[in-house]
Amino acid sequence: MLYRLLSIVQRQRTSPGWQTWSSTRSSTSATESHSVTLPAQAYVVICGGGILGTSVAYHLSKMGWQDIVLLEQGRLAAGSTRFCAGILSTARHSSIEQKMADYSNKLYCHLEQETGIQTGYLRTGSISLAQTQDRLISLKRINSRLNVVGIPSEIISPKKVAELHPFLNVHDLVGALHVPEDAVVSSPDVALALASAASQNGVQIYDRTSVLHVLIKKGQVTGVETDKGQIECQYFVNCAGQWAYELGLSNEEPVSIPLHACEHFYLLTRPWETPLQSNTPTIVDADGRIYIRNWQGGILSGGFEKNPKPIFTEGKNQLEIQNLREDWDHFEPLLSSLLRRMPVLETLEILKLVNCPETFTPDMKCIMGESPVVQGYFVLAGMNSAGLSLGGGAGKFLAEWMVYGYPTENVWELDLQRFGALQSSRTFLRHRVMEVMPLMYDLKVPRWDFQTGRQLRTSPLYDRLDAQGARWMEKHGFERPKYFVPPNKDLLALEQSKTFYKPDWFDIVESEVKCCKEAVCVIDMSSFTKFEITSTGDQALESLQYLFSNDLDVPVGHIVHTGMLNECGGYENDCSIARLNKRSFFMISPTDQQVHCWAWLNKYMPKDSSLLLEDVTWKYTALNLIGPRAVDVLSELSYAPMTPDHFPTLFCKEMSVGYANGIRVMSMTHTGEPGFMLYIPIEYALHVYNEVMSVGQKYGIRNAGYYALRSLRIEKFFAFWGQDLNTLTTPLECGGESRVKLEKGIDFIGRNALLQQKQNGVYKRLAMFILDDHDTDLDLWPWWGEPIYRNGKYAGKTTSSAYSYTLDRHVCLGYVHNFSEDNGEEQVVTADFINRGEYEIDIAGHRFQAKAKLYPVTSFFTHKRRKDDVELSDFHGK
């Protein structure tokens, strides 16, 4: 097998390039006549011989796993990998992608040395052009983040761009980002090199073998059915690229992998008379929607047009594959843009226009991780045309995930479990990817909401709120109000509202926040994930005590904030649990936890018929009454005493509100403000809302949205799971000690890690930063991911931020690390370390002074209430 593979590779080396591939094809088909028998069993079966499949195989074998089989339906490094433009760019907006690209760059760089296979790796550097000031801000933000992780980059002037690239028209540029270590590489050769290295490590590779479906027993992968026979296995990795969706659904227990392909075009030209220097930098002109790289003395240029052509909506279709041909009329806008950028190209001859479908996901981030429904079923697909850049890093993280049970970086934003079956509608995907693909080169501004695939899940109050001026955002398919535009006010149109500065809704949210502080507001928070756990005996309590860090053996009616930790003590979820009665618990988690938390609970809860876990998200509408007058509104509607004596904080009671009975009222607000959460069976939702609004009128009640909630919670230093908290942060690192009961008598998951951490100290600490010399009107607003400098040295990144209308300042949350001056190793972070630093936050290259706090500001003035405050709630962002 290895021999055969290498022979392919050998032929490959003698004839690099696109045109000569047919020879490889014939050689492969020649060898194919020898019927190959698949092994009867293996440990891991990887489906897909593109760059991702080979990268996973490479890393798994490197980490010492044996018995790995890689199956490819066609031939190795065909498909999207073969047609990849070969640009490796580390200039990415999300820091996890940045890390993956950086790793890929380093991996590909030494791959040739390691395997002896030429990969065409060439360090050309890349230049991202900015035609507008907003684009330049966006590039400056990337520049700040690249610098702190040690990737050299700089913002350069148009003049410098002209020096670096001889043919560029720079008169319309305002600046550019230069990343000198970015590279170009031949992606099929990289995939072959990875395959060859993996093969040397014992991975068996079979091409011309299609996976028909995956065999599953009791929610566990048991084998793979191929067109050449069965293979028993324990792990299956779906790296099938644009066919991953179909492959996922082909099982008896379908795994939904929401991705959809779009046609993607790029142009190849014949060489110049005097060929372009091979180290000419790659150009990304996002405002012109194109990229340009040097290719065999000519250029290669493609782009992401505004009107993408989705393809394969109805699955793999031979007719559509054959019809994939050059569409010059479709390419015309990109060609115009290209000629505008490089007018000298006019006289260059065309070689061909390549049409290579790329896969896109609903949120423009790739998909990796384990299926929530089938254990041992891993996925790595949907690369949003960054397969080559991210391939190395993604393969490494997935291999770590399989081998260690979790990757070494926080990959929640890429986790398959961020999606559910609800994102799997083909219509939804088709519409959404048509928005996602142009977004590749659109300006990425804070608080951007997708416009397609909306109004899927809504609260029963949706129409009512919409009529009152609600503006909506979407989380996990659920529409949530952002804020309410007063009737006499107009906001900017969608396109104009894009800004890195003060947004147009600033005053609206201010008045909502003020109302929460002084009177009472209603926020519809129905999107929260709600589970009920009941049992016939004590099984519910027992299993929850094992799964959660806080002590859940509390009197009936109490609410407990607790983390759901993994073995390392990291947060898998952060939730509130109310004990409804002795044997039944009501659990509230963030919206996007619906799939992940469900999978986690199912994985760790004993398979016991007397223990019942139920998803009741759809059964309840949640209204949050925030503000000092909330108690007045509710007591008028229920005739029940609502004073703190009768209804202390963090308490849950079932009571009547208006005519409706059986409303779960909880004395918490997720913001630190006084108030109540009402969990209302949905048929009563409109009634209760109407009653609350009409009674509340005399107390000045009004609607509010999530932006107000966010401002309130961040100024109270409430961390947000998914942003501030993740699987790699422990309660001890973010001031959540009070939610951990190490001595509750049960060895809950993560307890050992926490014990150890308690002894050794933490290596990072979540702190709150208040920006001092920041002008809200004129300066760029913080978003997240801004580097934090302590005494002039990089110390970490922010995780979220909001404007505090109480403090009249911006507040950022972020982790502070203590990097050793000598070797950069992480050291223990103490409260003292935090307090004795001088901090600066770098927003797009401009550093603002900040004060770090470990406790919310208000607690300094009201020490007496501090304990209440901390307990009063927390976890947000649901």
Partner: protein
């Protein structure tokens, strides 16, 4: 001075400007045209302040008098007419001037004044469009014609072009025609109403003529002869219908008398020629005889003193006859086997560019007139078309003209134009309405016929016309996607090609009518042959009094043939 008759007396057809024929306007105080020249200069001078005077003359005189010559001595710029495509050359120059003018205006006060939005442009272009689809019987269209699209865009106010389309009911076949009037619209209007009746009657067999005559005699209902396909804007004059009918009746009575009873096959060519000549004769006679009704009397005189060219197609099965008088043109669109389009001209222009016409004129008049009969490419130095209806000034003797004018109504008497006798007018008639008839047997590859007045042909080459209509009718969706294949194409070439395709695509989708589509191209084409909205908008927003300087009236009929039926005819006969 020049502008005064233009505005006040437009209906009188005395304006020397946008007319095909005319004389220099003189008032008693200004007997010489040379004295009148400063007037147009003053008129246009503020518009074209930056241009040298010769250019102004070029603009003002040439375009103004494209079809007539005021006084050749004063207009040396006419050399432009000798270039192979005079229209193209001349259209560029004045345009530039005009743009300069508008640009200047734009900065001054009303910025967006001359820009029309695309919907506004469309509403102007589509105002006169008309489509007729031959009805299908039992899901089948047995006619060799699928239908036709027609449209017209005025440059004169009112428009002097006319169009007609009708199905013959007593014989087979369909008649389509475009008529380009000059010196007013009276003649073209009359011809558009009457000519098809004359043709239809000429084609009728003896028995049908008898039947009709008997019906009229006994007051019975008349067999309908023609079914008209008219746009609501195409009108017929009610007042003259009785007069016209009587003339027509006289014609068929003579036909009946002439017929000796032999039921000889009627020759379409002959019928067409007879009809044309007879109608022109009737127009002339009616003007000489006059009418007791003063309105009608004035009308018949206006008809006779103005003129019109006619280009008429008669389609019956695979037999296509084109009868042409004047400089309108009939063009056949032929699709070659490779899908490309070529143009076959089915008519000859009767103007100075036609050697045979020059020859004919010289033969018809004494040798000593050889130099004066055609001067400056115009008949007697005045008239551009060498054949036309009406225009009795070029047909009647001087005596007759004077007599008719003196006995005519005062309006006629006061009219400088009618009183003016062409110079070197020695051996009338100089003009005839006799058509040249071309016969063509339709083949399956003959996809359509374009009938259009010279307003179209002077802005577009026939090959472009046929290509644009052909591509329009076959639909852009059938246009092959571009593939580079093994050809050597540069990025610049590809970009040009794609831009052109895009422009075509967008204009095709706007039009439901092939004639409208053609007009859009004729008026809005830029130097790359693509419709330029800005140019289109400027051309269409020209004020009435200036429009004629930049373009002529355009009237187009596009007849689409039914290849299946044509093919079937061919097979039958084989």
């Amino acid at each position: 001075m020049l502008s005064a008759p233009c505005c006040d007396d437009r209906r009188m057809c005395v304006c020397p400007g946008p007319r095909r024929i005319g004389i220099p306007v003189r008032t008693s105080s200004l007997p010489l045209f040379s004295d009148a020249m400063p007037a147009p200069t003053q008129l246009f001078f503020p518009l074209i302040r930056n241009c040298e005077l010769s250019r102004i003359y070029g603009t003002a005189c040439y375009c103004h008098h494209k079809h007539l010559c005021c006084s050749p001595t004063y207009i040396p710029q006419n050399r432009l007419r000798y270039t192979p495509h005079p229209a193209y050359a001349t259209f560029c120059r004045p345009r530039e001037n005009w743009w300069q003018y508008t640009q200047g205006r734009r900065y001054a006060s009303t910025p967006q004044k001359f820009y029309l939005t695309p919907p506004q442009v469309n509403s102007i272009l589509k105002a006169n469009e008309y489509s007729f689809k031959v009805p299908e019987f039992d899901g089948k269209n047995v006619s060799s014609i699928l239908g036709f699209d027609s449209n017209q865009l005025p440059a004169n106010a009112p428009i002097e072009d006319r169009r007609s389309a009708a199905t013959c009911l007593q014989t087979r076949g369909m008649l389509l025609g475009v008529f380009d009037g000059h010196a007013g619209c009276a003649c073209s209007q009359a011809v558009s109403e009457r000519l098809f009746y004359y043709i239809a009657v000429s084609l009728l067999p003896h028995e049908t003529l008898l039947e009709i005559e008997n019906a009229v005699e006994s007051g019975r209902a008349l067999l309908p002869i023609l079914q008209w396909h008219k746009h609501p804007n195409d009108y017929f004059s009610k007042e003259a219908s009785k007069l016209y009918f009587n003339s027509l009746r006289t014609y068929w009575q003579e036909l009946i008398d002439l017929n000796t009873g032999e039921s000889a096959d009627i020759d379409v060519k002959e019928a067409l020629i007879n009809a044309f000549k007879r109608l022109d004769n009737d127009i002339s006679l009616e003007a000489q005889v006059g009418d007791p009704n003063s309105f009608l009397n004035y009308l018949v005189l206006r008809v006779a003193f103005s003129g019109a060219t006619a280009c008429v197609a008669h389609v019956d099965g695979v037999d296509l006859h084109v009868a042409n008088t004047g400089d309108s043109r009939a063009m056949l669109g032929v699709q070659e086997e490779d899908g490309s389009w070529s143009a076959v001209t089915l008519s000859n222009d009767h103007n100075a560019q036609n050697e045979r016409e020059l020859e004919r004129l010289k033969l018809e008049h004494p040798k000593n007139e050889a130099k004066s009969v055609v001067k400056q490419d115009r008949l007697l130095g005045l008239l551009m078309p060498f054949r036309a209806f009406g225009d009795v000034k070029f047909k009647w003797s001087i005596d007759l003209q004077k007599r008719v004018i003196e006995s005519g109504p005062d309006q006629l008497n006061d009219n400088e134009y009618t009183k003016f006798i062409p110079p070197n007018y020695h051996t009338p008639p100089y003009l005839t309405a006799e058509p040249e008839v071309t016969y063509h047997r339709l083949r399956p590859q003959d996809k359509f016929l374009v009938l259009a007045t010279d307003g179209l042909w002077e802005t577009m080459h026939r090959q472009d016309v046929v290509r644009i209509v052909g591509e329009y009718l076959t639909g852009m969706h059938q246009q092959q996607p571009i593939a580079v294949g093994g050809y050597k194409v540069t990025l610049g070439q590809m970009h040009g090609l794609l831009t052109e395709r895009r422009a075509k695509m967008s204009s095709v989708f706007e039009d439901q009518n092939a004639a409208t589509h053609l007009i859009r191209h004729a008026v809005g084409n830029n130097e790359f042959g693509a419709v330029d909205h800005e140019r289109l908008s400027k051309m269409l927003s020209l004020p009435e009094e200036l429009a004629r300087m930049y373009r002529d009236d355009i009237t187009i009929i596009v007849v689409q043939f039914n290849s299946h039926v044509v093919g079937a005819y061919q097979n039958q006969e084989q």
